[in-house]
């Protein structure tokens, strides 16, 4: 069964929108959007969204459930991290492990309350939304006159989360970065070719040769372009490695594993999933424990980028993560949505943010635009589904 051109367009609407929006801002900013520096900015600025939204996606799959507390938790854990590393002068490794441990304990409690006590997720996390902001602010204000704890001196920590791999001067081509890009592009193309060959050999539905080649060229092109731009901007940001690990991990979980499948079926029809032997409570538990762990990783990355713990850290992060998922086609009712969609959604929001900043659009109106984009994406999703019926 070959896909028609209109079907291909329909399946990739958000990607096309992303490209158009990108071109629009490149034009309006006189090419500034396309500079190596802003490529780098786009990634480092939005790293937290990619990571946090990966966890949020898992929660949303289980039935449109969300986590409101993650932004405040970033503030609280960040404050703890600053306290450990700067005030108590603990080494970075035990500090981040301690943050992880606290996150896991919280995740277990939250998961238990939601999965086994049946507290609706948005209420259970609303509590954390309020409490963690308060706790975080208290830690900061009782340990610092400015209400902010700097981690500027903890260089090894910054290196892990906000450094560059094999750093070179800006404007010089970083060979390691470029080499990694080329290898990644080759791997992606090979995977496409082998995947299709396998399907053809076994007689399954497969994309046409042209389709596969087109896809490969496009994907390899994007990877090489990003690699080149980053190579010119001083090398691979370590935060990109973290993002890549998280995104690829959740892509693997959702696409290939039984547990990932269980997330989808629980969201699709919880009762049917239960009667088919899926432990629906365990899935809910894992979703929220996982969300807490992902929030810890986000905290590391944010603390590294800002180089300080603030009481405003993580503000609206939960909304950014939800928006990225929703714009990326994750169903607000659960049961469907893919990591790749979320990545496109998060990038789209990031591009809009960066583009508007470069154009010096008033911050208030930036919020208006973001709101309209979110609503538009959901309306589009619902309408296109209706038409399909």
């Amino acid at each position: 069964m070959k896909k028609s051109a209109s079907q291909i367009l329909k399946d990739n609407t958000m990607l096309i929108v992303l490209v158009l929006v990108y071109l629009f801002f490149t034009w309006r900013t006189g090419g500034a959007m396309f500079s190596p520096f802003n490529f780098n900015e786009l990634i480092t600025q939005n790293a937290y969204v990619f990571i946090l939204a990966s966890g949020m996606l898992m929660c949303m799959l289980t039935g449109g459930n969300i986590d409101l507390a993650c932004g405040s938790l970033v503030c609280f854990l960040g404050a703890l991290g600053g306290y450990f590393m700067t005030i108590r002068e603990m080494a970075p490794l035990p500090s981040i492990l301690l943050m992880l441990l606290i996150g896991i304990v919280y995740g277990c409690v939250l998961g238990y309350l939601i999965a086994y006590i049946n507290i609706p997720p948005w209420i259970a996390t609303l509590a954390g939304y309020l409490a963690f902001r308060g706790l975080g602010t208290d830690i900061l204000s009782s340990n610092s006159k400015t209400g902010s704890i700097s981690v500027k001196k903890v260089e090894s920590f910054l290196g892990i989360f906000a450094g560059k791999l094999f750093k070179t001067k800006i404007g010089h081509l970083n060979t390691v970065c470029m080499a990694v890009g080329i290898i990644a592009a080759i791997i992606v193309v090979l995977l496409n070719v082998i995947g299709r060959a396998n399907k053809v050999k076994k007689g399954y539905e497969a994309d046409s040769m042209m389709m596969m080649l087109g896809k490969s060229v496009l994907e390899a092109g994007i990877i090489l372009l990003v690699a080149y731009k980053l190579a010119m901007a001083g090398g691979i940001p370590t935060v990109l490695v973290w993002v890549a690990i998280v995104v690829l991990f959740y892509n693997f979980i959702t696409e290939k594993t039984t547990i990932g499948r269980h997330f989808y079926v629980v969201g699709g029809n919880r009762e049917a999933a239960r009667l088919s032997g899926v432990n629906t409570r365990r899935i809910m538990f894992i979703a929220y424990l996982n969300m807490a762990i992902v929030t810890v990783i986000t905290t590391w990355v944010v603390l590294g980028r800002v180089q300080a713990a603030n009481s405003t850290a993580g503000t609206n992060f939960e909304m950014d993560a939800i928006s990225a998922c929703v714009v990326g086609g994750v169903s607000a009712y659960g049961g469907s949505g893919r990591i790749i969609g979320m990545v496109i959604g998060a990038t789209l929001i990031g591009v809009i943010n960066l583009g508007m900043s470069l154009m010096n659009i008033d911050a208030n109106y930036q919020k208006v635009v973001k709101g309209v984009v979110l609503l538009g994406a959901v309306a589009f999703d619902i309408l296109s589904k209706k038409r399909a019926k």
Binding site: R261, Y264, N269, A273
Partner: protein, 513 residues
Amino acid sequence: MANILLEMKSITKTFPGVKALDNVNLQVEEGEIHALVGENGAGKSTLMNVLSGIYPYGTYEGDIVYNGEICKFNTIKDSEGKGIVIIHQELALVPEMSIGENMYLGNERGSKARIDWNTTYAEADKYLKMVGLTESSKVLVKEIGTGKQQLVEIAKALAKHAKLLILDEPTSSLNEEDSRALLDLMLGFKEQGMTMIIITHKLNEVSYVADKITVIRDGSTIETIDNANHDIDEDRIIKGMVGRELTNRFPKRENVPIGDVNLEVEHWTVHHPLYPERIVVNDVSMYVRKGEVVGIYGLMGAGRTELAMSIFGQSYGILTAGTLRMNGQEVKLKKSAEDAIKHKIAYVTEDRKGNGLILSQSIKVNTSLANLDSLATNMIIDKDKEYQVAEEYREKLRTKTPSVEQLVGNLSGGNQQKVLLAKWMFAEPDVLILDEPTRGIDVGAKYEIYCIINDLAAAGKSVIMISSELPEVLAMSDRIYIMNASRIVGEMAASEATQENIMATILRSGRGD
């Protein structure tokens, strides 16, 4: 001769592909209790929905003459305005609201902007007294029992100034005592001149309250029997209800050897999950052997689904007593479907859309769901194998679909049922419990499902088939259990079972205790 209050003339109602009512005639005299009887799906409820305006004027053929004039109802409000009030089988009360609030729901006292609660509760109390309830109308509905809730429904109908009251299976969820009280209340209303139509499966009730009985079968009126002396012979009604010719709608199962007992439950007792004082499965003992198809027949609400789901890893209710043996060994299942599947029990639900299938997922995903682990190594799904399995079952069950990647929500009912069966066949159970496996699917698809059941038996599986279609139970089963009011009230070999003696068993049990 009394005045004819309602006459339904040559009513024909067609749904896409099905003629639900074919030229039905019904005459109800003023001041009588008229019973409407027939099997499930015969068309009784459809007829009452036509009368009450749920199916508006113009969607059916024929005329409704009420009080001498032709009525053209477009909504329930129209029919209620004329005094025709229907009380549905499923209680339509909001548990968290008070009795008074429920009675005037959508019919609120007071002005548009403001509800007059004093009038509401005063009037509600008045009508509650008429039905013999002593509760205050301020009590929440969830705090009174089902029997009293049914009376609240009647009070609610009275509050709408009902002249013609239609009761659809009013006693189906009531115990013997409450049922009798309700019937006596009906007789009391009749004394006061109220006209009533009662739809019921319980023929002893028909004989007790009805003045006339109209039998409906396969969408047509068969006959109207006079019962002025309340002495009608139940066999007389049953004959009218089930007297249909059986054509060859069922494939034969040939020479399937029946082996040892595979699954057996003893003294199985289950309580309702929310109202633990209610017993939904009462001291049931039954067994099924290898290669055997055992039918469980009973009317809706008899406890069949509850029994099946409680065997399936206590997926329903609270198990308070009973033992389960598989191959002679006692098995204590954990309270999860997962554990039941591990012990090779499968339950194919009656509600395929509600809790059987994931409509937003593909045939492939649905097929593999109950046995996904067998397709995975280290939790990584072998998608090629999954595709092959889905294809294999698509061919085996002849599911009509362009591809196994098709979303299940896009399939017809019969094909959805096949996907549901495929899921459970792939789980490779030894015991399959099929709950209403042919509900809501057309005759052709039914035949194919019967063939699958025969194949399963031939492969040495044990099949328990729950059904409220008597002909199906008779034709497909080796042995039949008859369930009524939470108990097994009879067991017979298929060779000695007939429609008449199964119905008679149910009726006897209803009266016996």
